[in-house]
């Protein structure tokens, strides 16, 4: 649990450093006629997962940004905490700079540092994020690790408005490795998919939106074999409960 606490305090520390320059900047903006720099903190997922094999997970995915229309700095944080092992199954921090490349798309570049239970990895990141036609939010990245292994992930999300407050969101995450990295359980080819369906309600504006949902995780080919060898499962259904937070 100490590691979670450490991460959380790192989170709040980073937030504090993000907030302070933003305040100073907004004073400056007041003096001139236009506002220039902005910041935001959000957690897309802050959830508890319970699998059909009685596995329990805590999942967090979020980040903070600070910057202008032209250049933003993002800190992205994602982790899966496994109750049974009392350990981070996955834990990644990304620090990227992001800039618009078209009306709806941003390019980004930076580093990703993975520090879960087991071997650590550092990656260079090149990514593209934006809004595809039909309001599909897309985020895709190319990672090259310090071991020289490359992988690509793709995330897509679509929000269906049941009402203006009840929102059904469908998400797809997939990971493809261009080479294998056995030490961290990554096989070549399609590694995994995670498909989620979450029904949320905007409780306090858009700052706090609790949700329930289902998530299906699946591992493929070599990656599935590696997981089986390690005694893990290759396919899981989860019931999830959590909240989306934005402020």
């Amino acid at each position: 649990m100490t590691r979670l606490t450490a991460s959380l305090s790192a989170f709040s520390l980073a937030m504090a450093t993000l907030v302070t320059p933003a305040m100073a900047q907004s004073d400056l903006a007041k003096k001139t006629q236009t506002a220039k720099s902005f910041w935001g903190v959000s957690a897309e997922k802050l959830e508890y997962r319970y699998s059909d094999a009685d596995e329990e997970l805590a999942v967090i995915e979020g980040g903070a940004f600070y910057g202008t229309d032209e250049l933003k700095f993002h800190w992205l944080f994602a982790g899966e905490w496994e109750e049974a092992h009392n350990a981070w199954e996955t834990l990644e921090n990304q620090f990227v700079a992001q800039t618009p490349v078209s009306d709806f798309w941003d390019a980004k570049a930076g580093v990703r540092i993975d520090t879960p239970e087991g071997a650590d990895r550092v990656y260079g990141v090149l990514g593209l994020t934006g809004l595809a036609p039909q309001w599909v939010e897309v985020d895709t990245n190319l990672y090259v690790s310090d071991e020289g292994d490359a992988s690509i992930d793709l995330e897509a999300e679509y929000e269906l408005l049941i009402t203006n407050y009840w929102i059904l969101s469908a998400s797809l995450e997939t990971l493809v490795a261009l080479s294998e990295d056995r030490e961290i359980g990554v096989g070549k080819g399609l590694n995994s998919t995670e498909v989620g369906l979450r029904l949320s309600y905007d409780l306090f504006e858009r700052t706090f939106s609790p949700y329930v949902g289902v998530v299906h995780e699946r591992k493929y080919s070599d990656t599935a074999d590696l997981a089986r060898d390690g005694g893990g499962s290759t396919e899981d259904w989860f019931a999830v409960i959590g909240a989306r937070v934005m402020f």
Binding site: S26, K31, T34, D103, F104, L161
Partner: protein, 573 residues
Amino acid sequence: MMKQWIVALAGGMLSLAASAGEYNLTVDRVQIDTGDFVKEGIGYNGASPGPVLRLKEGEDVTINVTNNLDEMTSIHWHGLILPYQQDGVPGISYAGIKPGETFTYQFPIVQAGTYWFHSHSGFQEPNGAYGAIVIEPKGREPFRYDRDYVVQLTDKHPHSGDRIMRNLKMSADYYNRQQQTVGDFFAEADEKGFVATLEDRLMWGDMRMMKADIEDVQGFTALINGKGPEQNWTGLFEPGERIRLRFINSSAMTYFDIRIPGLEMTVVQADGNNVQPVNVDEFRIGVAETYDVIVRIKDEKAYTIFAESMGRSGFGRATLAPKPGMTAAVPEMREAPLLTMADMAGHMDHGGMDHGGMDHGGADQSDMGKAIMDHGSMNHGDMAGMDHSAMSMSGGDASDPFYAAGSGLMPKAANGGKFLSYADLKAQNPLYEHREATREIEMRLTGNMERYEWSINGVKYEDADPVVLQYGERVRFKFVNETMMTHPMHLHGMWSILDVGEGKWNPVKHVISVSPATTVYMETEVDAPGQWAFHCHLSYHAASGMFRKIVVEGGPDSEVAERTQKGQQGGES
């Protein structure tokens, strides 16, 4: 003691002789109670809205503004013609007013009518820093009335201006709670057929645009003279009287459609200038505009002043009554309008949209027109590159040259009667002799709604060079709205002569509202040296870049102008 008395007496006599008025305003932290919520805000003389400044045409005013805030402030006298150093825009006219400091404004009052004042610093105006100005004319007015009331509207939001700006930057639809839902889809499919509805959604989806994108900032409580709908500001009258209502829209972001069920309104003034009277049942007031109307009430009963926001997400309500406490029925808000393909036209002609994307929906451009548009009079093939205004003229029965033909924003009076159009506004007495413009300046109103970036000619304020005008010229501005939002464009210091095709009778305004996919012209007699602000009056549009500095070169005070310009480059920073 004696000496002080003499000084005071002499001062008093002087002010009488020169007809000088002295006014004091303090800028304060205040509590704003809307009836829905109580919020800390900014006000004048301890209240928001601030006091009504009653001035006289011909007087020289001295206005002492004391800043009791812990941050910089400023006051801009909206619509007043004055020396640019008195205009109150930090970084352009002066450095602003520091905390604890008193700044003395001094200028002659050279006009009459209804105006207002507000902070030009940060988001102090949305936070409550605004008040009304009523200027009594020197001569007789061309209309009679028995009493007059200021009816000042605003859109008070529970969030602070900084917070709203930040939220819009994080997510441009943060405040939009009128987006189309699954239920709307099926309701529409029932009415127009499943395929047509699906095609429509796919097409808008391909462009990543929303039909419900009319009001950026919903969730406000509309206030009239500082009172929410429940608190019901009431103006008293005696039956048989003519009442002049001075409507001022001091909103940060909200246009209002105004009516008084059971009463016809005679519009006599627009933006402080007399217009040839027009009888209307309803009118739309853009952000920062003012309209004076006269109503004549015969019956001894109460009437509701009903101000629906253009996007129908909120309404303001006040009452005219013979006795305090009397009320009249409050109408229901009408259904929220939706933008149509006609409102998209500007975006399609000039915008950064990739046209290729539009083919995905399985509809080519000409099919698209048939399948999607409710108002079949327009043909997409002809549209590209065409002047919007010419296009608008060809509209059907409900046409108004100031809206794209088939626009979802086309107003209709609730009682089926007359809705005021810009085309109805004609000057009572032309302020200027009509002459040909010496040149034309095109201002394309541009933006990216998804990123919440707004600009002019694709360039944001911080990246733009000032627009340079020459003293003595008459400039014709061509506004081409390439966005899907309505922008109230405000030029400081000089009048905006709106081209309604009436030559010298064109009305003279200080705010020109430009609807989506339309082209609107206005002319300016460049008769005020110095440097001025020019911007969209939607607070968060101006703040995100739809703003320009205008420099007028030459003229009587040109030396002063140049010196100040050099000295103030970069403003307060």
